[in-house]
Amino acid sequence: MNMIVCVKQVPDPEAPPASFQVDAASGRMVIAPSVNPVISPFDEQAVEAALRLKDAHGGKITVLSLGKDAVPHVIKKPLAMGADELILLQDDALEGGDSWSTAFALAHAIKKIGQYDLIFCGRQAADWDAGQVGSGIAELLGVPSVTLARKVEVSDGKAVVERVVPDGYEVVEVSLPALITVSNELGEPRYPTLRGIMATKKIEPIVWTAADLGVEASQCGVAGRRTRLLKLFKPVKEGRCQLIQADSPAEAGEKLALKLREAKLL
């Protein structure tokens, strides 16, 4: 089975909120240098989903990532976890894209890879949280997609996916090839092993440019954007504390419940 996992390097979303500032004038994020780059956590879960299938059925996992600033020890982590190959899309022309132009470049790279049964993406990237790229790739490739997977099993040329819904999960069957986006309910991704880290050191990523993908510069990156960011700002959060006065705990509980219902929280 051939699997492709799309991963994105992002600033560590666990870093303290104060490390992320907005430069209102340019509409850009300013990220403190102390923030480490990591693989977007949902993407690590996508890698984990592929690894579980590889454990069960064997196969090859190709990791695909777009971004010029990829740091070797970060972007190679999926290899140290057990993936087989890493392809980096690195080209000035591919930078600064939106969900559309990113999906466009990734879809072309996947076409160039050629052989695949399953494509995995994280449900959304932990930096912009748009959650569009996965479905976009599926659309461009003309393959079915199932979003928000918490479990994926494969048999007889089909995948059975448990898909997270607000009050539980639904089970979806899909023919292969297909694209699946993975949610955090899948569970913790495995740690890389020492052996994996040592072996990964010797693996050189394959690097493709826009020309390698056969796409025009005007179709990708900034030039290929179909959306424009109008305003970027930090929402002002206000905390107000209201004390519920009552004579007994039971009465306090009741009053609190009524307040919460009034606020449409219950």
Partner: protein, 381 residues
């Protein structure tokens, strides 16, 4: 000169830090209070390949260099120095002698399970009457047919009872040399061998999660082929093992000091007195700056010793310098860390109080600070 770590070193640090924060930090206070050896965590370290880190791949190891080893210990000690010491003793004192002098058969039998974490390794040098003066040991091993018969006592042995399976490399007196001096040899004794008893765990000031016991050998018989390397090479082997162990202890000191720095810095920024954060008082800033200077220097000499070792260059002096400096830095960093935390720092619930107790061993184990200074002085040009 280049101070950049390799890609694999950074990836390894990320892995161990991640692991230590997720799997070790939540239980560190608990195993400190109970004195339980954290077998579950150690098993997981084995599964990740970390317990065989520097050993060859053919013997279940990771084939990584000494710098990687220092990083592993540093990151473990940053969260739990007791676990760090267990791993250090397991690798430097248990597995490493086998890796250096073991026969292929001995390595297959013991190095592989050690590297995979299915067995815990230890070394038995110290005796009730012989610590710094290793030559003064009196445990004997006599050949009787095809067996060594071992008699004597060892004390304060790390990992002696850790995990379900284990072995100890025992330094023994195996006879007299022609010049009349004692002949020393190291013999491998698997736990469970009749005549080999381990005591209950010793109660200690700190490092409670690390397993420390006394050993007694009473007509304990092991096959002749359990001799490690050459007969008569034991003393030289023991000194070589300690050389390597030294930057291991140094790395533990670096990690522990780093933890004290990070925790104290955070506390100083959050805790307010006289209307401002402690950090705004220059006295506190200077304490933090001093810890930071010392951690940085301790790390540099530790990494230097590690790199010299992996390049096959002489490193005895640098390893001794790293050991004495980093361990003394750790003791100071922990003390100042407690001071910065004030009364809270003295409470058991504050990790600083644990680091304060744990740090002291580092100036004693595997050669005291005094012994390190003797070694350094001997190597001065």
């Amino acid at each position: 000169m280049n101070f950049e770590l390799g890609e694999e070193h950074i990836a390894l640090r990320r892995l161990v830090r991640d692991f230590a924060e997720k799997e070790v930090a939540p239980i560190a206070a608990e195993v400190d209070a109970s004195g339980q050896f954290p077998e579950g965590v150690v098993t997981k370290l084995g599964e990740l390949g970390l317990l065989g880190l520097p050993f060859p791949e053919e013997y279940g190891g990771g084939g990584a260099d000494e710098l990687s080893y220092a990083i592993l210990l540093e990151e473990l000690a940053r969260v739990d120095c007791g676990l760090g010491l267990s791993v250090e003793a397991h690798i430097s004192l248990g597995g490493s002698p086998l890796n250096r002098w073991g026969t292929p058969e001995q390595k297959r039998r013991w190095l592989i399970p050690l590297a995979q974490g299915r067995m815990m390794g230890s070394i038995g040098l110290t005796e009730p009457e012989a610590g710094s003066d290793l030559g003064g040991i009196s445990t004997t091993a006599a050949l009787d047919g095809d067996e060594w018969v071992i008699n004597g006592n060892k004390c304060f042995i790390t990992n002696a009872g850790a995990g379900s399976h284990g072995l100890v490399n025992v330094l023994t007196v195996t006879g007299q040399r022609e010049d009349g001096r004692k002949e020393y040899s190291i013999i491998i004794v698997p736990r469970g061998t009749p005549g080999y008893e381990v005591s209950e765990p010793r109660q200690k000031l700190g490092l409670h999660s690390s397993d420390t016991r006394d050993l007694s050998f009473t007509d304990c018989r092991v096959p002749r082929e359990n001799l490690l390397g050459e007969r008569g090479a034991g003393y030289r082997q023991a000194l070589a093992v300690l050389d390597e162990g030294r930057f291991g202890i140094a790395a533990l000191g670096v990690g522990l000091s780093q933890a004290c720095l990070e925790l104290s810095l955070q506390y100083a920024r959050e805790r307010k007195q006289f209307g401002k954060p402690l950090f705004d008082f220059q006295v506190i800033q200077f304490k933090l700056a001093d810890i930071a200077i010392n951690v940085e220097l301790a790390r540099l000499i530790t990494y230097k010793a590690a790199v010299l070792c992996q390049e096959g260059k002489p490193y005895t002096k640098e390893a001794a310098m790293a050991k004495v400096f980093a361990s003394e830095v750790a003791v100071r960093a922990a003390e100042e860390g407690v001071q910065i935390h004030g009364g809270y720092g003295y409470m058991s619930e504050c990790p600083l109080s644990r680091f304060y107790r744990d740090a002291k061993l580092l100036t004693i184990g595997e050669g005291t600070s005094e012994v390190q200074r003797m070694v350094i002085a001997r190597h001065l040009p």
